[in-house]
């Protein structure tokens, strides 16, 4: 009844993460590229992130869940891997510079082109749907991969571009 693989990996990862009092899962190693060396590399699109992903962090998506930003703002996250910039007093969204920084931070939790290996997608997803949200302090933010916000996040990981983005 006891998984002999995942817990061991989790434990190894925990030793690294313990100093920042967060959970980091080794199987979901961060990377900026994916696939074989000859395969086209998936590029993460900043404009898509800013317009379709970043708003999710601030959004009250249901009555039953805390907003991502509540725990993931830098002063509440103890130096954890998904530490978002602190909103300026009175601001309802990040500045361009802050969004660029958030993009860099979140990109490190993504394997471009591979949702299954992207901690950013697996951590808030319910275990019943293949995620790790039972170990996420924010809990099951997404009940299934059909959640529209989760789909947006996945689209970004898969390299979808915003309409306003320049061709690369």
């Amino acid at each position: 009844m006891i998984s002999k693989v995942l817990p061991a990996i989790i434990f190894a990862a925990f030793v690294v993460a313990a100093a920042v009092v967060l959970c980091v899962y080794a199987p979901f190693a961060t990377a900026q590229t994916s696939g074989s060396p000859d395969a086209p590399k998936t590029q993460l699109d900043y404009e898509f992130f800013k317009t379709r992903v970043e708003p999710i962090f601030l959004k009250k998506r249901s009555e039953d869940h805390a907003r991502c930003y509540v725990c993931h703002q830098v002063s509440r996250h103890g130096g954890g891997p998904l530490s978002l910039e602190l909103l300026s007093p009175g601001a309802s969204f990040w500045t361009e510079e802050q969004s660029r920084h958030n993009f860099e931070v979140v990109s490190k939790l993504v394997v471009p082109g591979d949702p299954s290996l992207s901690l950013f997608l697996r951590m808030p997803l319910a275990p019943e749907a293949g995620g790790l949200a039972d170990t996420h302090q924010g809990g099951r933010q997404f009940a299934s991969e059909d959640d529209p916000d989760w789909k947006n996040m996945k689209a970004w990981v898969l390299g979808q571009k915003a309409e306003s983005s320049s061709p690369q």
């Binding site: 009844m1 006891i2 998984s3 002999k4 995942l6 817990p7 061991a8 989790i10 434990f11 925990f14 030793v15 313990a18 100093a19 009092v21 967060l22 959970c23 009555e63 039953d64 869940h65 805390a66 907003r67 509540v70 725990c71 830098v74 002063s75 509440r76 996250h77 103890g78 130096g79 530490s83 602190l86 275990p127 019943e128 293949g130 039972d134 170990t135 996420h136 302090q137 924010g138 809990g139 099951r140 933010q141």
Partner: protein, 339 residues
């Protein structure tokens, strides 16, 4: 804040569960082990504590830097007391005069700076904020209410506060972060020992209150094992039954709560805790979080964050009585004694 309609049961206690991943606090009637009330509209609640007469709730959350003082029966807000930063645990002195709040971060940076905020329960004003080097996580009181001990995960220390002078009395420095802790008091209420969980120790530390030194580090048995650490720390949740006969401490690698006799710290056994089912794979540990007891010491309650449940366990038989579904990511859990 909304209080859902509740039939009033004839019990003498309530168990409050903060659902930190959500916006609710569940209230369990230990007579029926059912949720009899849901307090809604508090984003990421951290803790609920109570005035000794049970008339007031003191609620802290991760979303706003205030202590929310609420009339328990009506649900009406009495006051929002500004705090020095993001609050974690809280405690109320036995005479009800002081409310102590662990501040996890007074600043805006990733590296936390901590404090112990002290609120006068009569005026509902912050009378002092005692700064410490790093953020504070949990706090416990001596039986006589003269001292409080608080642990720091980032700073890897326990600070003991003298509540009469409202100054730091002494500290214990560790090699790893300090998570939940509890104080064992002498019959006269003075401090005897601190039992503290550490984030890389599958067990707990024992600090002698008289000498201010760590005198032992108890390691949990090697079995059961294999459940991984869950999040935040491998041992998380520790409590002393009100009759002072047993100490209960959670282990995430064992996905269990271990039971020790007091004062001799002899291992009595363990109770396996709920696992998280994962389709197509072996289940994961449920991530036991915090512990509380009924006032008669007959039942212990363990919140299990990954399974969205609270386990009610019979203290004498060490058997799980029932599993109570609660909200998202249940964390701190506390007992209200009704007059």
């Amino acid at each position: 804040m909304l209080f859902a309609a509740v039939p009033l049961a004839a019990a003498t206690a309530r168990i409050y569960v903060t659902n930190r991943g959500g916006t609710t606090i569940d209230v369990i009637d230990p007579a029926t082990n059912k949720v009899v009330e849901v307090i809604k509209g508090i984003e990421s609640p951290e803790v609920v504590r109570f005035s000794p007469d049970a008339s007031r709730l003191y609620i802290a959350s991760r979303s706003v830097d205030v202590l929310d003082v609420v009339d328990r029966k009506s649900g009406k807000h009495i006051k929002k007391v500004p705090l020095s930063g993001w609050a974690n645990d809280a405690a109320v002195t036995g005479d009800g005069k002081l409310i102590l709040i662990c501040i996890r971060n007074t600043g805006t940076e990733a590296t936390d700076a901590g404090a112990l905020d002290i609120i006068d329960a009569k005026s509902l004003e912050k009378v002092k904020s005692i700064p410490v080097k790093r953020g504070l996580h949990d706090v416990a009181l001596t039986g006589d209410g003269k001292y409080a001990a608080a642990g720091s995960p980032g700073g890897q220390f326990i600070t003991v506060f003298d509540l009469q002078s409202m100054e730091i009395a002494w500290e214990v420095q560790y090699d790893q972060g300090v998570l939940p802790l509890i104080i064992e008091s002498n019959p006269d209420g003075s401090g005897h020992r601190i039992f503290a969980e550490l984030n890389r120790t599958n067990g707990f530390s024992v600090v002698d209150f008289a000498t201010h030194k760590e005198v032992d580090r108890i390691k949990f048995p090697d079995e059961p094992k294999g459940f991984g650490p869950g999040c935040e720390g491998i041992s998380h949740g520790i409590g002393i039954a009100p009759d002072n006969k047993t100490l209960w401490a959670n282990s995430r690698p064992a996905n269990s709560v271990f039971v020790y006799s007091l004062p001799d710290l002899k291992l009595l056994g363990h109770v396996s805790l709920p696992e998280t089912p994962v389709p197509g794979k072996a289940p994961r540990g449920g991530g036991p979080a915090w512990i509380t007891f009924t006032p008669d010491s007959k039942t212990v309650y363990v919140s299990t964050c990954g399974t969205k449940s609270v386990s009610a366990i019979d203290v004498n038989t060490m058997k799980e009585l029932t599993r109570i579904p609660v909200g998202e990511m249940p964390d701190r859990i506390s007992t209200l004694v009704l007059p």
